[in-house]
Symmetry: C2
Subunit: 345 residues, 2 copies
């Protein structure tokens, strides 16, 4: 399959390169990207299912459906985040492709943090702290390792068993990873140059680390906030930092930006990438990348996957739509004793 053929590092490098280029060239007029919406429930655990549509005008629509079910790893043996993505031709509405997006979501979220870190962290950053050591943390560290020369990694999860297994899940990176217990979280936080928060903290239970003895140039990638009422970063840190949302309209609803006024929010990641000199000063101050997850990133990630599938001759052609020989006869396939498609797969 694609990941094995291309290799994880090459895939992450390509993802970072494609996203950087998409941000650099981004023109709002070429896209229509409404903030996502979805269903939330307790069933009996907290869950969220949302759809993230994006239209590249004159070309295609991609729709990612993504579930956030923090009880999954403990109760269902499934990832917290499960996702699929589909893309449609805007000339006909035809379904072009369909793919898993559980892996793609981790990949593109990692890549976005790497891009934000490269633009906003202190140039001498060497120490990475991870708060929350689940699936997203693996991809975060992987992505950072492609843009930072990492000397040391410290990792903390509120579940000690998850903290302990992280080194093993990240061993392919060949980095020195120190698991940290709750009482040592203040040390992790004060020694980090770059911090990633990727937790399933409950609504209203954030902040997930203290604003104490932080490096004056600390850069935080806040990945976990994706739900109204859910946040991770101390308010005092947000208030004195350069806060850079991926998608301001959405971050104000469900990101760290929920807690800020419009005047306390800095430039978006697209603006930072398009005008790097203008925002270079943020490397010397504390900065927070408010990563809520942007449908544009999903569209770019899916495009990369489809391009690889084409180049490598991978992927399975799937005729899901019951398009018959006669577009005006919805029953054509049923009456000719043969079928061009799977009506259910």
């Amino acid at each position: 399959m694609i990941v094995q053929r291309v290799g994880l590092n090459a895939l992450m490098d390509a993802m970072i390169a494609r996203l950087t280029s998409a941000f650099r060239q981004f023109e709002p007029a070429c896209y229509d990207i409404p903030p996502r919406s979805g269903f939330t429930y307790h069933n009996p655990y907290l869950g969220l299912l949302e759809w993230m549509p994006v239209m590249r005008r004159g070309a295609e629509v991609a729709i990612k459906v993504v579930g956030y079910h923090p009880a999954n790893p403990g109760s269902n043996g499934l990832p917290t985040i499960l996702s699929t993505i589909s893309t449609y031709d805007t000339h006909s509405g035809h379904l072009i492709g369909l793919a898993d997006a559980t892996f793609l979501t981790a990949l593109r979220t990692g890549a976005a943090s790497a891009i934000a870190s490269r633009a906003l962290m202190h140039p001498d950053s060497r120490v990475v702290g991870l708060i929350g050591a689940g699936a997203q943390a693996v991809a975060q560290l992987h992505a950072l390792s492609r843009v930072i020369e990492i000397d040391q990694v410290m990792v903390y999860d509120s579940n000690p068993a998850v903290t302990r297994t992280f080194s093993q899940r990240a061993d392919f990176l060949g980095l020195e990873v120190s698991p940290v217990e709750a009482h040592d979280l203040p040390r992790l936080v004060s020694e980090a140059d770059v911090l990633c928060t990727a937790t399933s903290v409950d609504i209203g239970d954030g902040e997930v680390f203290p604003d104490r003895d932080l490096k004056p140039h600390l850069h935080v990638n806040a990945v976990g906030a994706d739900f109204p009422g859910k946040f991770e970063v101390p308010l005092t840190l947000l208030q004195r930092s350069f806060v850079c949302p991926d998608f301001p309209e959405q971050a104000l609803k469900e990101g760290e930006c929920q807690r800020l006024g419009l005047d306390q929010i800095g430039a978006s990641l697209v603006e930072v990438i398009q005008q790097p000199e203008r925002y270079a000063y943020a490397r010397q101050t504390t900065s927070v990348f408010d990563s809520t997850g942007w449908a544009l990133e999903d569209q770019i990630a899916l495009q990369m996957l489809l391009d690889y599938a084409g180049e490598l001759g991978l992927g399975t052609p799937l005729e899901l739509e019951s398009a018959s020989d006669d577009p005006r006869n919805p029953y054509h396939f049923a009456r000719n004793g043969h079928s061009h498609h799977n009506s259910h797969s």
Copy 2:
């Protein structure tokens, strides 16, 4: 496949029975059904791609993605309406099933019209008129033929070639179908007991038939309105008729109800089915079923398909999500040289 094994008539009967029962038992508190939203564009032809989510609380979410591209049959050899549907477990977000919904959309839209007609038409209705003779018209007539003893069918399409081929597409019904030319449209309209409008009339170009010499008990199934500014039924007829929307909130935005005030709209189809005696008077007056297409219908249709797939042992198990053995390791599959899933299909 399912349609061939079950048979078209049995499938339509089951669809009508399941929808009737779902309407009868419908409790708003058990569902969350936001009005659909989507992208519209000219590319270069008019197109619309929308997503229709529905949550059955405590059970599942279904999301239909549906495209409306009226130039498709003429320009792309594809149906005007192309669609797929997926359903997700709200305990985990796991993708339960995925199916074509092009056929399902025609089936459930036909079934809804049959249910509305059975409740609102004059009991002696025998003559059916069809305006718009594309894919939806085939399913409309099929559904009506399951609940009406039809003596005569008249059909008109603004494209004479489409009018001419209709009898052939509907020949499996064994009904006498008279194609009608433009100059005879007034006769079609005045002789019909039940009329179905299922056209791709352009925004602002409706009404698609004259309000002249109509039977005093005429029942209209207005299927085509599904777009702000698009409508089919003469305003004067709407104003004096019992207008029954499938989903009032949505019909006010994109159905025939767009042209009416709230006080001019009758009971919804669910209300009519739940209190048939109360609305029996509408059988003696003109009535219009404003069918915009309701996500509940899609959820019921998909459930029927999945039930048949289970009973008949049909359908293809598809592991689309990259759920690895370790839910906290997004790369597990890539590092063990094997895969449980298709990352792209």
